[in-house]
Symmetry: C2
Subunit: 382 residues, 2 copies
């Protein structure tokens, strides 16, 4: 198989070999429905509870606060829809840079009589504190601000925001899907009521995620039925993925400090090269995840560049909402006040465990060549 | 590892080796987010679309009618909640023998102003047609009747029921999770608007399911966000599980006729033995899935028997809702008019691909011994 250099770890990560090892038996001789009251069921239950402890330990939560879901999107939906189903309609506020799996369920609440508000961010992608203070004075019932942004990597200072929401009797939620394994994530220290995680961003499998939830929150399930996960997430538990998630949490916490220091150095090298090629780097002025670089070359279409780089053997992301047929410029960038034309030029490199200086040098070279060739084309057209 | 004889295939099934084969690469060198626009993303997308074709072919649907979910529970929730979110409140009716993942979301609609009705079944677990006809005259907006019951294996004659609902402008849904691979499942011939499937009941992995849905149905997503699966199921697609699901569909359709004929003979042998031991068999008078036997020995606690059999090396299920700490007698049996005391004695054997006549003989022997020992104990206590 043709294996391009993978520089898109915020989209998904390859499995860690140690994660694969705990998953493999569940593809072979091990199987079982964790609700079954026989040997097979007990073995499945045991694997799930072990993983629950591992996930809880990774974010300083209690195992009983971990609700396993099919992934991060479902975990975010569960908190927002789950709270809304049990509360009287009120004000919900989410930051302008949230992932669609927070923004969409929040917006849908308008149909049930909620007021929806998007919190402003500054040019670097950080929550505008004055706007936030005005918002909390209106006593929102639910506020969601992500811990680290999937596109820019910009990190929000959640704890003081959570404090303001909490003292006014609201519920505070944070999407920590991109943060886990790339910065310290401490459920207690953040002081939030709900926190969403995903396995496949931390060298674990697609198919497992978790909502860490304060037990005082009255939640309704999104998937109702057999009563699994304290009646908050029905459906036969995906033992293999959950076991892998648990192991991935253990590994990523152990490896984090050293790995992120290395990747941050690598990113500095990358961004030095990018600046030399004329890129503007989004969120540069804010604290960012050490592995993420989101940038643009004015007048060069991001999608086109992704295609060129792909053919040159480098897998990176563009800044557009790519699950639709007609890509829209990044909502995150628009919220930061970036002009739509520049937003359409955006490109994201997200580094991971296996990346080396050679990868970055090779990428910079290919990028330079692609840019030169595209600019020649543009010059010819103009 | 201690490997008891597995007789609980309606709870979950072991992976078919051919399914494992298509999944393994996704635990190794293959990985990718199917929304990514580079080589890794395209490969993931290709695997998903191939699986979509395989699932569609297994149930005579068009690939564009297949919405992948994390499993059967989510697929059932998606149809019921998804329809309800887009329609004016009205009457919803589900059979009295539905799985909780149909009954619970349906019941929850009462909060949004819907009227909830449970369709009566007869003593053999079949829909009471007179009661059904009365119900449809009230023009329900949504009716759900499962194709084959998970506990009794009783099969409903869905097509004529769907016809009655359809001609009155309602939506008809069927939970086909237990039916797939154990009987013919034909989306077109059934004439339903929604049909739920699960991979792990057909020798595929836990973590993948599908809602087959008529495109005229206006559905809202249960998990909203990135817009995957025609905006009906957001979240990074579980490529490995979906690929396994597709392959499992292919295999189970090919193997079905021969396998089910064999299992039906095996079950006849089992039930001959059960009758000799004094069991009453639930749903015996109705058409049933060929692999399933649900029975009880009066005055013998089902849970206790499951425990004894487990220690004797046989994995079977009881008839209680086993995900809760305080087991309730089977809702299915109560709906069939079975007395709660007898329902508490229920035991389920569900045969699968690997089971042999030796398995059944060994089980009957262990069952006979367990019964004798429990009856001696009971006699001593009394």
């Amino acid at each position: 198989m043709f294996a391009p250099t993978y520089l898109d770890h915020n989209a998904t990560t390859p499995l860690a070999p140690e994660v694969r090892e705990v998953m493999l038996p569940w593809l072979g001789e091990r199987f079982g429905n964790a609700s079954s009251r026989h040997e097979y069921g007990r073995a499945a239950r045991k694997a799930i509870e072990e993983a629950r402890g591992q996930v809880a330990a990774a974010v300083n939560a209690h195992p009983s606060e971990v609700i396993f879901t099919s992934g991060g999107s479902e975990a975010n939906n569960l908190f927002i829809k789950g709270v809304a189903a049990q509360a009287k309609p009120g004000l919900i506020a989410v930051s302008g840079v949230e992932h669609p799996c927070v923004r969409e369920p929040a917006r849908q609440l308008v149909r049930s009589g909620w007021r929806y508000h998007e919190l402003a961010v500054d040019g670097a992608g950080r929550i505008d504190r004055a706007a936030f203070d005005t918002l909390v004075s209106e006593k929102p019932r639910l506020v969601s601000v992500m811990l680290a942004n999937n596109e820019t990597g910009v990190v929000q200072d959640i704890a003081p925001l959570a404090h303001e929401v909490r003292v006014r009797g609201g519920w505070m939620h944070t999407d920590a899907v991109q943060a886990l394994g790339r910065m310290d994530v401490d459920f207690r220290a953040l002081g939030v009521h709900g926190l969403a995680l995903s396995a496949h961003k931390i060298y674990g499998p697609i198919g497992a995620g978790a909502l860490i939830v304060d037990k005082r929150v009255d939640l309704a399930p999104v998937v109702a039925g057999g009563g699994q996960e304290r009646n908050l997430r029905s459906g036969t538990e995906n033992v293999m993925a959950i076991a892998g998630f648990g192991r991935a949490c253990e590994l990523v916490v152990t490896a984090r400090a050293e790995r992120m220091a290395r990747l941050e150095t690598l990113r500095a090298h990358l961004e030095h090269g990018l600046s030399g090629l004329g890129a503007c780097i989004f969120g540069f002025a804010a604290p960012r995840l050490g592995n993420t670089s989101f940038f643009a070359f004015p007048h060069v279409d991001g999608e086109t560049l992704v295609g060129r780089l792909d053919r040159a053997g480098f897998a990176v992301a563009s800044g557009s909402a790519c699950s639709s047929a007609h890509p829209e410029p990044s909502h995150t960038l628009l919220a930061m006040g970036v002009a739509p034309e520049l937003a359409r030029s955006a490109l994201r490199v997200s580094l991971g465990a296996a990346n080396t200086r050679q990868d970055v040098d090779g990428f910079l070279q290919a990028l330079g060549e692609s840019l030169a060739s595209l600019r020649t084309l543009t010059a010819m057209v103009v």
